[in-house]
Each structure stands twice: as C-alpha cells, then as structure tokens.
C-alpha cells in the first residue's frame, strides 16, 4: 500500500459513488413512468440486433464519414478501457499489470491500444472539424459536445505522454509494441531529461488520465454522453419488427383514467431510455419533412424538450407526486409541434440509437384529442364524417361502390367464393382521381383472370386517419366493425391500393382479432407479372420517377415491388429522385395531415414535387392515393400539369397491358 493506493481509493470511491447515485436517480425516474412497454420478447433476435448495431455500429455507419469517426471512438473506448483498467489495478496493487496474459498477447494488446489511441485522436480532430468548420445544421451548437471532445482528446494525449515518458524512463521490454508512444518518446528525448524525472512525469500523466476517466464517470449521467450507457440497452429493447403497428388502448379496462400522455410520466420507461440515449446527432431532423419546410417540429428538439421536461419534474417524480408533474404541452412542445408530424418515420429510420419519436407524438395526440378535445378545427368534421358515414370525407356510405359502376364488380354479399377481396378504401371509393386508379386496378385484375370481390357498402374506413390523429376510440369502433364484416365472410386474402389501409389491416387489425394475408397492389401486380398472368407489351417510352409512400416503405419495408412493376413495363426509363427508398421524403399527407390545413411554413407536397420535377421525368409514379393527391396538387402548383403526369403504378400497368 502506497500513497497512490490510498489516493486512488479515495478518488475512485468518491467518483463512482457519486456516479452510481446519479444513475440510480435516472433509473428511479424511469420507474416513475406510468405507461407500459413490454420489450423482453424474442431475446435471440434482440441479441443479434444489439451485436450488429452496438459492436458492429451498423446504423451509425449509415452516414459514412461521421460513422467511421464514431466507430473509431467507440472501439477505441472499448480497447483503451482495458488499458485504463490495467492502470487502476496497477495503482491499487503497486506494479501489477496484465503482462500475465503472455508476452505475445500483451504485445498485441499494446499495439492495438497504441494505434487506436492515435486513431481516436484523429477522430476527435475530425469531430472538431465537423462541429466547428462544417457545422451540419442538424448538429446544432452544443457546449456538452465540446467538453466531451476536449476530455476525450485529453485522455488520448495523456496516454501517449504517459507511455512516452514511461518508455524514456523505464525502457520496458514491450516498448517496441507502442509505435505511436515511441514517436512521442522520441520527441521528448530532445529535452534531455533525467530518467527519474521521466518516471515521475509518466506517473503524473497516468494520474491525469485516471482523473479524467473518473471525471467522465461523474459527468456522464448529466450530459448527452449518457448515450454511452443508455444506447446499448435502448438498442436491445427497441421495437423489433420493421412492420410497426400502433399499440392499442383497452377501453374495457375501467382502471384506465388517462388516455394518452398529458404528462411525461404518462409515457413509458422506454421513452425515458430514449431520451437518455439521444446523442443530439440530428440525423432525425435532417430528413424530417416538417422541419425541412419550416414547421416548428424537429424530432431532435422534441426528444430534448421531453428530456428537459422530465428533468424539470425530477423532484416531484422522485417524491411520488405524479399529480403535480407539469404538462407536456408547454412553450417548447406546443400543439403545433405535435400536429406537424406526418408520421413518415424518417426520423426513426435515421436514428442510430433507435429512438421512437412517433409513438410519443401519438400518445400526446391521444391525450389532446380524447381527454381534452383539442385538435385543428377542420378535424372535427373528419371525425364526424367517420362517425356517421364511415369515411373521412362527407359522402353517403350508400355511394361507396359507385366507383365501380359499369365494371361488373361483384360484392362479397353477391359472391364470396373469391381468390381475393379488393379493399377499396375511402379515397378509391370517393375521390374522383383515385376512383380512376381503382378502375384501372380492377381492369388489371380482370385481365389477369383474378376472381375478386369488394365489400361495397359494407366496407367502412379502416379508422387509420382517426388513429393517427389520436382518436383511438373512433378507430377501434371502425376497426371492430370492419373485422366483424371480414370475419363474417371468412376473408383470408386481401389486396388494396392504399398503403394506409394496407398497414392498418395487415399490422394493426390483429390486435382486435383480424388476421388476414394482406397484399399491397404493388406486391400483387408484381406477382401477377412474375407468374406471367399479366403481360405488359405496349411501349410507354417515357421517363418515370417513383415516389415511395411512407406507409409502404418505411412502415412496411416495401421498396422493391413497386419498382419491379415499373421496370416490367416495356421501354420505360426509371429514374430515381435524390431522396428515395428509406431516405425518401413524405408527400405531407401522413399522420392525418391529409385532413389538416398546412398553415405554417412551406408546403411539403410542393417541396417533394420539386424533387420529382428535378428528375425531368414525364411521369411521377405513385402507389398511394394520398401521395397521388398531394403530388398532383404539387404539379399543379408548379404549373407543370401539361408536361408531367402523376399516375398510379396500376394505371401504368393497365395501359401497357392489352
């Protein structure tokens, strides 16, 4: 036992106790949440996801340069921590080291550590360059980030100086395994210092290094660097399937008094872990259609504001005074922020630590709508239409099958012995432009000799608009009515041209007893082409660009089939927009925005139309009725309707098929 042992015990004891105390508070804050989140299913899949994204840095590396920078610092942190541990042990038991692992293994460890130290320094340099010179908009300004980078850089420098002086003073047998430190030693040699001084300096820098590490452990719980502890578990606990549905509320449960989230504590512990994991990298914000058209929502600020709200209510939550927790809606998270979301999930796909932004927005909307009856005024008509006529638009339900006049399409009531049920959707039933899409698709099904039927006046809105806007009660009324009808006809297979109907029936009806094999028409048509049941022969000879629907792409991971449909058309030239597939930009209609006025900022549909027009394609192909409406309006706004047509993939295929 030397003075070093006692000093270390004192410092480490203090630092780790304080750190442990701070982490216990964070844990108790998580436990103070009332919402539920069950995330311990499918353990093997979770382990694999964690390995790929934590150890493999898969999601982080989606952005090349910044990803490599992060991966270097991450792996440097892991490997160099072994050296840090060795310092701790060596300080506690004077002279102890990891040399016992064998000469070769120890040398190898040192080479890796030494080179990674230099690599991390370079990465920190790049990070500074990015923050101070490049300054990507999403990154923003962060004092926290500067402190962390200075500390990380100092950690690396202290290691190199410690090792450099160590080599000069003690000339250890393994000095050949530390090329970078050797270089430092070479430079230090020029000062002509005594071996005793060099040994003392090495000890000093060891202490500098150890103190920064201990300082870090104190700093982490209160900084954005908390992600180094939270992001791993957050990845493990993420919602697994890409095909994501919204979680239902059990209205039969009379113990539930609060629907949706009025206060942060109405959300779940997993939401708190999301805030803890946020590194403020801004990738979510870069792709957000609301943010990019000057609306008050940025997914990054939403998470940070919720985190601040949680921290500001810390005392009340820890004291169990949940009733006194201040509301979520305040001067930061305004109602406009909550209504700006198109639920396109670009933020969630971009997030390297799998934060789920949309669920929080949905929960906040549920409270606003169901508890407080607060929503954009125009939405009231939408709810009323859905309540009385089972359609977000004001049309009589008795007119629902009029789109098919003269096509000789049977209803299930007339003949339910069919291969597939065609789910028309409200847009296909009532919107003049989208009626044409349905007529084209029905014609295509007939050409392929598919035996199909529709529900006709028995079909009701799936409830999706109500659910996305926050009216879960109305959604469930409609969903249950539809499921009752579908199950009465023993429907097994459904095809629909609407990605919103598709997502709801496929992923969300199963919570209420509706289990069907559901196809989007892009999948269905692609399959008919592969099977040779449709043979497109007429030449189109036109450039086409395809706009991804969010509920088909990001919600259901369908990117290939609509493109396959287009590519099977003779003499077509498919050109991609700059942002496509999972990086695609929303048309602006999702999340119930279809029925809300866009009063703030620029119009999302016009911004997306400009991207489509930039391809110079003569046809913008859509696969969703709402995208169709938004892009058609966008083309008109840009006064390009004489040169550019917006068409559904079914219309293009029907035209090309004799």
């Amino acid at each position: 036992m030397t003075w070093q042992t006692y000093l270390f015990l004192l410092l480490a004891g203090a630092a780790f106790s304080y750190s442990a105390y701070r982490f216990s508070l964070l844990y108790r804050l998580m436990k103070g949440h009332q919402g539920k989140a069950n995330r311990l299913d499918h353990i093997p899949e979770r382990i694999l996801t964690t390995i790929a994204n934590v150890l493999g840095q898969k999601a982080v590396l989606k952005k090349r340069a910044a990803g490599i920078m992060h991966a270097t610092i991450f792996w440097g942190f892991i490997i160099i921590s072994v050296g840090t541990l060795e310092q701790f042990v060596g300080t506690l038991y004077q002279g102890a080291s990891f040399e016992f692992i064998g000469e070769r293994a120890y040398s190898s460890l040192l080479i890796v550590q030494d080179s990674l130290t230099a690599a991390v320094l370079l990465a920190v340099g790049y990070a500074f360059y990015r923050r101070l010179i490049v300054r990507p908009e999403g990154l923003g300004k962060s004092k926290d980030a500067t402190i962390v980078l200075i500390l990380t850089g100092s950690l690396m420098l202290s290691i190199l100086l410690m090792n450099g002086f160590h080599i000069l003073g003690s000339e250890p047998w393994y000095q050949g395994s530390m090329p970078v430190s050797n270089l430092v030693a070479h430079l230090l040699k020029g000062f002509g210092l005594t071996p005793e001084f060099n040994i003392a300096m090495s000890t000093l820098f060891k202490w500098v290094h150890m103190c920064i590490v201990l300082g870090f452990s104190v700093y982490i719980p209160s900084s954005k660097h908390l992600h180094i502890v939270a992001a791993g578990p957050n990845t493990f606990l993420k919602t697994l399937p890409r095909e994501k549905g919204m979680k239902p509320i059990n209205f039969e449960d009379e113990s539930i008094q609060q629907y949706g989230a009025a206060k942060v504590t109405d959300l779940s512990w997993k939401d708190a872990l999301d805030y803890y994991s946020c590194t403020e990298c801004g990738r979510c914000q870069d792709l957000c259609p609301a943010h990019n058209t000057a609306k008050p929502l940025t997914p990054k600020m939403l998470i940070l504001d919720l985190k601040n709200n949680l921290y500001n209510n810390k005392e009340k939550i820890l004291a169990g005074k949940i009733d006194e927790v201040s509301p979520i809606i305040d001067e930061h998270v305004t109602e406009d922020v909550i209504w700006a979301c198109t639920s396109c999930r670009a933020c969630e796909i971009a997030c390297p630590v799998f934060i789920e932004h949309t669920d929080k927005i949905y929960d906040i909307r549920r409270n606003l709508v169901m508890m407080e009856s607060k929503f954009p005024a125009e939405v009231q008509t939408v709810f009323k239409n859905m309540e009385t006529n089972a359609s977000p638009w004001a049309f009589a339900s008795s007119d629902r099958a009029n789109w098919a006049d003269g096509l000789n399409v049977k209803t299930m009531a007339e003949d339910s012995q069919v291969d597939v049920l065609l789910w028309v959707g409200c847009a296909g039933s009532y919107d003049d432009r989208n009626k044409k899409v349905l007529r084209a698709f029905a014609s295509l099904l007939k050409k392929a000799n598919v035996k199909f039927a529709i529900l006709g006046t028995e079909e009701q809105c799936t409830g999706d608009p109500a659910r996305r806007i926050g009216n879960e009660y109305l959604y469930q009324t409609l969903a249950k009515a539809n499921i009752e009808t579908l199950n009465r006809y023993q429907v097994k297979k459904i095809v629909t041209a609407c990605p919103h109907c598709f997502n709801t029936i496929k992923n969300e009806y199963k919570d209420f007893g509706g289990n069907y094999e559901v196809h989007h028409h892009s999948q269905f048509i692609a399959q008919l082409v592969t099977q040779g049941k449709i043979k497109p022969t007429k030449t189109l000879d036109e450039s086409v660009t395809f706009h991804d629907s969010c509920y088909l792409g990001r919600w259901n991971n369908i990117y290939e089939q609509p493109r396959a449909v287009l590519q099977s058309l003779p003499a077509i030239n498919l050109v991609e927009m700059k942002s496509n597939q999972d990086q695609s930009m929303c048309c602006g209609a999702g999340g119930g925005r279809m029925w809300m006025e866009e009063k703030i900022g620029d119009r999302i549909n016009v911004a997306r139309t400009e991207q489509a027009l930039a391809t110079k394609a003569g046809i913008v192909a859509a696969s969703c009725p709402f995208c169709m409406t938004m892009l058609t309006d966008g083309v008109k706004t840009k006064e390009m309707q004489d040169k550019v047509k917006v068409m559904d993939i079914a219309e293009l295929m029907d035209q090309a098929t004799p």
Binding site: Q257, Y259, M370, M371, E372, S373, F375, A377, Q380, F383, K384, T388, N389, A394, F395, A396, S397, S398, D399, Y473
Partner: protein
C-alpha cells in the same frame, strides 16, 4: 340557472333520401341520424352558460321515436347533465312536438332559459322553437348570433333580412333559437362519452305531457322527391348577346323574371 336545450334528430346531410312505397314519408331504413347542426349550437351555448354560472344544470329534451335517445347520448357526452325523452311517433308534426316539449318543460320546477336551433335541417320548418315558447307563454328570440347575459334577461344579436342585424332584449325565462356563427360546438371528450353511457334518460309518455294524437295538425299524404338536377346550359356569343339570351331563358323557360 336551470338551462334547457331542445334538440331534434335528423338524417345526416349526406343521406340519399328515399321514400316509403306509399309516399307517406321517407324510408328511414339505413339512415344515419345526427343532431341537427343548429341544435348543436344550442347545446354548446347551454354548456358555456352553465360553466360560467356554477351550480347551473343543463337538461336536454327531445321528442320522437326511440332512435332519438342516441342523439341525446351525444348531447350528454358533450356535457349535458340530464336528459328527458318524450316518446312520440315517427310522423308527429311540429305542433305535437312543440306542445309535448312545452308539456315536459312545464313539469320542471323552474325554467330560466331554453335553447334550440333556429330550424331543423330536415324539414326546415322553423316552427317548434316559437311554438314551444308560445305554449309556455314566454319570450323568444330567433336566429341569434350573439348573446349577452344580464342579471334579469338577455341581450341578443339576431340576423334579419338583407344581411342586417338587430339587438333584442328579453327577460327570463326566455327561449333562444341559435343561428350558425353563435359558437363552435365542441367534440365530446372520451371520459364524457363514457360517463354519458351510464347517465339515466327520463322517459315521458304523451299522457305525462298532456298531449295526444289530436294535437297533430298536419298529416303528410304524398311525399315527392325533387326533380333530378338538370345539366347546366352554356350560353355563347358576345356579352350583349349572352345577356339577352340569359334574360330570355329566365323569362320563358325558368319563368322567374
């Protein structure tokens, strides 16, 4: 204050009206029923007035067949405290309805103010409000756009012909018939919808309100659907010729000038 609202259940505005085979009335099968939109304004106004005057209650009344209970539940979900259903047959006319509603109101211990819509959107008769007030012998103000509540009565802004307004004062008890623009009706919150399901609706028979079939003054015999809308006519030529042709058509074909 003891606040009352009289509402009518009407077919939804999107309903495609069909007639009974004997043309004695409309075919109610498949109709989606809603609260007449002007009556929603009346409900909203009653709730706002109640909330400004602690200790007040809002009671909603409707006269008609069993189906009207559904609309009364909606009114309760919006926030009304009590509901009274006067059972009347489908074909009851404005007079029978008004006399029955008045009969029900007479049974109440004290009535300070009654709200209704300015008319129902199905028959558009605009009779019941005034008739109720007449049967009760109280003042009434119709087509009201704004109300100032004074200690002894109300000061109302009402719409009159030619786009003008007039201010009318009336003392309590008073009946007010609401016009669009008076307020924006609320959307019921879910806890209120849940509570409304459990609230009791008081049922009164014609004998309880002192009316009978003899109060039916109008009998409907031969309903007709309006003639189908004809396609528009486009008039061409120079402006002078167009004007001349338009005048001729209005005079000779439409026979309106």
């Amino acid at each position: 204050m003891n606040i009352y609202v009289c509402i009518k259940q009407v077919p939804d505005t999107e309903t495609k009206i069909k007639l009974n085979p004997d043309q004695s009335g409309i075919d109610t099968a498949g109709i989606k029923w809603i609260i007449s939109p002007y009556d929603e304004l009346a409900i909203e106004e009653s709730l706002r007035l109640r909330d400004k005057n602690p200790g007040s209650t809002v009671t909603v009344l409707a006269a008609g067949p069993a189906r009207v209970v559904e609309s009364m539940r909606t009114a309760l979900a919006m926030g009304a405290d009590n509901a009274i259903h006067v059972e009347l047959p489908e074909a009851a006319d404005n007079n029978w309805v008004a006399k029955s509603l008045a009969g029900a109101l007479k049974k109440e211990p004290k009535v300070d103010i009654i709200f209704t819509g300015k008319e129902a959107i199905d028959d558009g008769a605009a009779q019941v409000s005034q008739l109720v007030a007449e049967y009760l012998g109280i003042s009434y103000v119709t087509v009201v756009l704004g109300i100032e509540y004074l200690p002894s009565g109300v000061k109302c802004k009402r719409e009159i012909e030619g786009g003008s307004f007039e201010m009318v004062e009336a003392s309590y008890p008073v009946l007010i018939a609401a016009q669009k623009g008076l307020n924006e009706p609320r959307y019921a919150s879910l806890p209120n919808i849940m509570k409304a399901k459990k609230k009791e609706i008081k049922v009164l028979k014609t004998s309880d309100v002192g009316t009978s079939e003899s109060d039916q003054k109008i009998r409907y015999k031969n309903y007709q659907l309006p003639p189908p809308k004809q396609a528009g006519k486009k008039i061409s030529g120079d402006p002078a010729a167009q004007a001349k042709e338009l005048a001729r058509l209005l005079h000779e074909e439409a026979k309106v000038v």
